[in-house]
Structure formats: C-alpha cells, structure tokens
Amino acid sequence: MKRLHKVLGGLGMAAAALATSAALAQDPIRIGFVGELSGPQAALGQDQYDALMLLVEQGGGKLGGYPVEILREDSQLKPEVAVQVTQKLIEKEKVSMITGLTFTPTAVAASKVAIANKTFVIGSNGSSNNMAGEGCSPYVFIVSWQPVPHVAVLAKYANEQGYKRISLMAPNYVTGKSFLSIFKEHFKGKIADEFYTPMSQQDFSSEILQIAASKPDAVFVFYPGGLGINFVRQYRQAGLGDKIPLMAHGSLDGTNLPALGDAALGFITGSIWAPDMDNAANRQFVEQFEKKYHRIPTMMAAQGYDAGQLIASAIAKVKGNVNDKEAFHAALKAADFPSVRGKFRFGNNQFPIQDFHVIKIVRDAKGRVNQTVIATPLKDAVDPFAAQCSMQ
C-alpha cells in the first residue's frame, strides 16, 4: 500500500510543477481568507473580508496585475475549526498564502498550521505577544498593531493633558488586565480606581457610580464589542459624559459607532488610522468603501485593505511567481505600497513600525458620528517584543 501511495504522490508533484511553470499567466493565484464570519463578533471579520474584496474588485479581479482567487473560510472563534479550515485551504485548495485572522486564539492556531506547511500569513488583525517575540516566523507578516504602543499612546496623551488622577476599568480577563498594566506603566499620574468586572457582566452602573464618587481627572477603560457599547451608553446615561473625559479602547471603534450614535460624541480613543486621514490612498479607499458597502469603514477594514495592498505590491515585485519563497518574502518585507495610514514599514519581527494617533469622536461634515485624528504623540513606534525576535 505504501509503495502505491508514494508513486501516486510523486506523480502528483510532477503534475503540479508542470502546471505552475506552463500556465503561470492563466491560473489565478489562490489566496485563503480565514476569519470570524459567524457569531456575535462576525462584523469584525466581515470588515476585513469586505475591504480585501473591494481592493480585488478595484483591480478587476487582479492584485498586482495578476488574477487572484480569494477562498473564504469561517473559523467560528474556535481554534480547532481554524486549524481545520487552514489545513483545508493549504492542502486541498492549494492556496499560496493565508490572510485575515480576526481574534487571537484562532489567529495563533491558524498561523501554526501555515508555518508548518511553509505558507505565508498576512494577518490583518489577530496576533499574540509570542508571535511578535520569540515565536516570530519569516512566514508571518502582521499589518495590524501590537497592544503596547496601542495603549501607550493614550497614556502619553493623558500625561500631555496634565491629568493627575485617572480611574481604570476592564473585563477580568488576560487582554483586559494587560491593557490596564500597559497604561499604568506609561502613565505618570496616580490611579484613583482600578476595577475588573466579570466577563459576563453587562451592567456597569455600580462601578460608574464609584468612579463618580472618586471624581478622577479622566477615565481609561478597555471594553471590546457589545461590552463597549454597554459601558459607553451607561457612562453617558449616568451624566458623566461631559464632566469626566473618557478614554476607551475597543468601545469606540467603527463597528460600535452606528450603535452608539451621539452617546459617543466627545470621547477619546487611540488608533493607527481614522477615516479622515489626509492621504490619497485613504481618501480613495474611504470613498470607494462607503459607495460599495454604504457604511463608514472601520480600522479592521483599513487593515484588511492594507493587507490586500501589501499582497498586491509583493505579487507585482515577483511578477506573479509566488512560489519563489525567498523572492516573495523579500517583496512582502519591503512593504512597498501606499498604506491608508500614510507611513508603514516592517520591524525585524515583521510587525509594523507606525505612528499611533489620538482619535476624538465628532460629528463629521455629513452629520454622521465619526472619528478624527487630534494628535500623534507616538511616531514610528516599535513594539517592545521586537527585541526578543531572532530575525533581522
């Protein structure tokens, strides 16, 4: 049985090699998209996918001048499913690269499979500290952001605004605690309160009351998705909206603004991008996205679009021969593409080195609740884990 297996296997390889060299032009480059497309957090994965497809449509079904085929898979926020669909894309669908990856657990699981199969990953959101540190791999490029500078930007802003006492709040799980500890590291003033709420808690009025009682100069919180909406709305309803400035991560991103509406006006968040950033690529991206999808693009969409542009630039550099791994790796690392964020380059751990801005929620020209950049305290920020990565 084994011998027959080997012969068939050998035949298969020969056929594949023949195919790629001869029909380079006709065969579309197959790209696998893996992300959370079902369940409560599906909006985030959908934004990454929609932005990528927008770019492909603008290129008439081509990226970097070569036809591409995007194969989409839902990892359902389950690591075992992420492993399964990634292996299916690589082995069954024969994709040459994986992009997308929304949440950390599925991103880590999927990247492991890709690295084991020597397939490139261009992650447009999910990543982990290990992937930026010792676990860095030449096959993994992340175009989103690393938590440390993402939080530090708001701490720096708080210092510049002269806030002396700040109250902190976050859900009682790993990401929540690490966000608050990063903030405490970079903030020079005193911590008035520090609350951790159980994961399942939807009602924060008790904690908000205690914050009102201790009257801090400002408040910093981290509440993702639905929890963020709850918190911001309850903060506004408690009448603190215009008394104590609120800085929030995860709560004020694009996907939540439609649901929050006016409740979010005046609040602050930090990000690598905002819809009103003044560069040609961004203006064209925002305009096209709103025309096609009738909604304001979010940071997830911007990252999805940049991942697409990175892939396109690399394909153009290697003239479509993505199977030449060294050349394609160099092309990706060069990051020679007009990022919607303006400046973009890769650090040694293939995580971005980029500016971090302070964003305020305002009413834009068209009367919609939108984000605008008000300051850029952190320029060309390198994440602290880059040093632990052995790559150059």
Binding site: Q201, Q237, A259
Partner: protein, 306 residues
C-alpha cells in the same frame, strides 16, 4: 464606602433583580405546570429587545415600541407553542432541552440575517433621560423606571395568580396538572396561556433592558443562565419563589461584585483583591445555587406537588 453609595448599589441590585423576575416568573410557571424545560426563553428576551429597537428606530414612538416588543414575542411564543412545544410536553426533559437548543441556534442566526451582525442601537426615551441626584450621586432616571415598572408588573402578576379564576387554575396546574385536566379544564388552552404569558413577560424584560445594554445576537443566553439559577433556587413552579429568588440573585450578584473586592482589600493588596474579587463574584451566584440545592433540593419556596 459611603452609606449613599451602598444604597445606590442596592438599588442597582434591585433593578437587576426586577428584570430577572420578569424572566423567571414566566419560565417557572412553564416548567412547573407543563414540566417543560424551555431554554429558548432567553431568545424571547432578545426578540423583545430587537422588536422594540426596530420599531423605535422606525417610528420613534416609545409606546409603539413597547407594543411591538410585548406583542411580537407573544406571537412568536404562541406560534412556537403550536408548532414545537405542544409536541414535547409529554416527552422527557432531554428532548425538550435539545429542541430548545436548536431554537436558540436558529433565532441567534435569524436576528443576524434580519438586523445584521453588529449590535443595533436604541436610545432611552426622551422623558426618561438624564440622571437624578440621590444622596448627591447621579442615578439614571431610566433605571428608576425599570424598578417601578417591574414591581408594578410583579404586583399585577401576583394579583392575577392569587386573586383571579385563571390564577387558581395556574396554581392548581403547578401543583397537579393531571388533576385539573381530569376536572375537565381545557388544559391545552391553559398551556397556551401560560406560554403566552411567559413570552410576553420575557419580551417586556427585553425591551426594558434594550436601552441600557447592547442589542445583539446571543444577548439572551447569559441572562437565561441567571434566570435558570433563579427558578431553581426559588423553587420550580412557584412565582413567589421566582420573585424572592430573583431579588436574592440580583442583589447577591451586584453587591458581590462591588463589596467583595472592597472586603478583600482589607487583608490583600488592591490589585490581587480586585481580580480575585471579580473572579469570585462571577461564580458567586452559582455557589449560592449549589449551596441551596445541596441543603434544600426542592428550592427555597417549593410548590407542594399533590
């Protein structure tokens, strides 16, 4: 921890308890009378929120939103009773759990198909906006409204159960359903009425919770688990048990989250106290339930089954 803060926290606990009572009252009757485990009760809570949010968004009138929330879930409840539940009353709990899990999966996706994956917004009605100062601290007017409305509905339910003919039937059904069927009461109609009542109350709870929480797919399940804790702790089939159970769980959950960390801080450094406090608080109500069941397997206010 000033006294005024303590009182305000207790009011938050009361508000959450009242919301839980609206959900538990219907579910405990359904379980007590028809011995029917309806895990999709949380989905009715979600539908109430979605219906009212959608109508409020379209028409802007809070009255129409209330009508949509309550009547919408009532309709869904009656249709499901006709199509699915009626066939399962005689079946074992396992099959009821299974069918209602299937319905949870279905409704969580159905709302996403209709209203999209993100959460939708619904604002607090004009006349209930803003906060009122109590003991110098701001307390949202809207939460007052929830407490008052919830207690009024609770009183109405109490009168219905204890002062009307239908109430007698419901209580008799809770203690011995077979007997009242034998007495010639149209048991089928009673079942439908109880399911309808439960669905309407869940819808009301949903629409009241909508403005203060995010209306999104899957919002029903966390509060469903809390509701199940309430009815099992209070005593299955007893509305009185549901009322006291809801208040106990509401208060324990809210005050646990607030006072536990403060308590721990006295003999532990702040950060550890905070994280440990939050961790224990999240499992507190389960510990309470396990303790009650270990001591009184029938719950605190059991219905005497004939």
């Amino acid at each position: 921890m000033s006294l005024s803060l303590v009182i305000l926290q207790l009011m938050n606990g009361l508000q959450f308890g009242v919301l839980l009572f609206l959900l538990s009252a219907g579910l405990t009757l359904v379980l007590g009378i028809m011995n029917f485990v309806n895990l999709m009760h949380g989905s009715l809570f979600m539908l109430g929120a979605y219906f009212s949010a959608a109508v409020l968004g379209a028409t802007g009138s809070f009255a129409q939103a209330i009508a949509a929330g309550v009547l919408g879930t009532l309709a869904v409840g009656l249709i499901l009773e006709r199509l699915v539940f009626r066939k399962l009353y005689a079946r074992d709990h396992m099959y009821q759990v299974l069918a209602t899990i299937g319905l949870i999966l279905f409704f969580n996706e159905a709302v996403r198909v209709i209203w999209g994956s993100g959460s939708i917004s619904t604002a607090v009605p004009e006349f209930l906006r803003g906060a009122v100062a109590i003991f110098g601290l701001p307390y949202p007017v809207y939460r007052f409204a929830i407490i008052v409305a919830g207690l009024l509905v609770g009183l109405g339910l109490y009168l219905l159960i204890h002062r009307t003919r239908v109430g007698i039937l419901i209580r008799a059904g809770a203690s011995n359903a077979a007997m009242i069927a034998a007495l010639g009461i149209n048991i089928r109609l009673l079942n439908t009425a109880v399911i309808g009542l439960g669905a309407a109350l869940a819808g009301l709870a949903g629409l009241m919770a909508a403005p203060i929480s995010s209306v999104q797919s899957g919002m029903g399940e966390p509060i469903l688990i809390m509701t199940l804790v309430v009815i099992v702790t209070g005593g299955i089939g007893s509305v009185r048990g549901a009322f006291y159970g809801a208040l106990i769980v509401g208060l324990v959950d809210t005050t646990g989250r607030v006072f536990l960390p403060v308590l721990l801080r006295s003999f532990m450094e702040p950060l550890k106290a905070q994280t440990l406090g939050a961790a224990v608080a999240s499992v507190l109500i389960y510990l309470v339930m396990a303790a009650v069941l270990a001591l009184k397997p029938q719950g605190l206010f059991p219905v005497r089954h004939g």
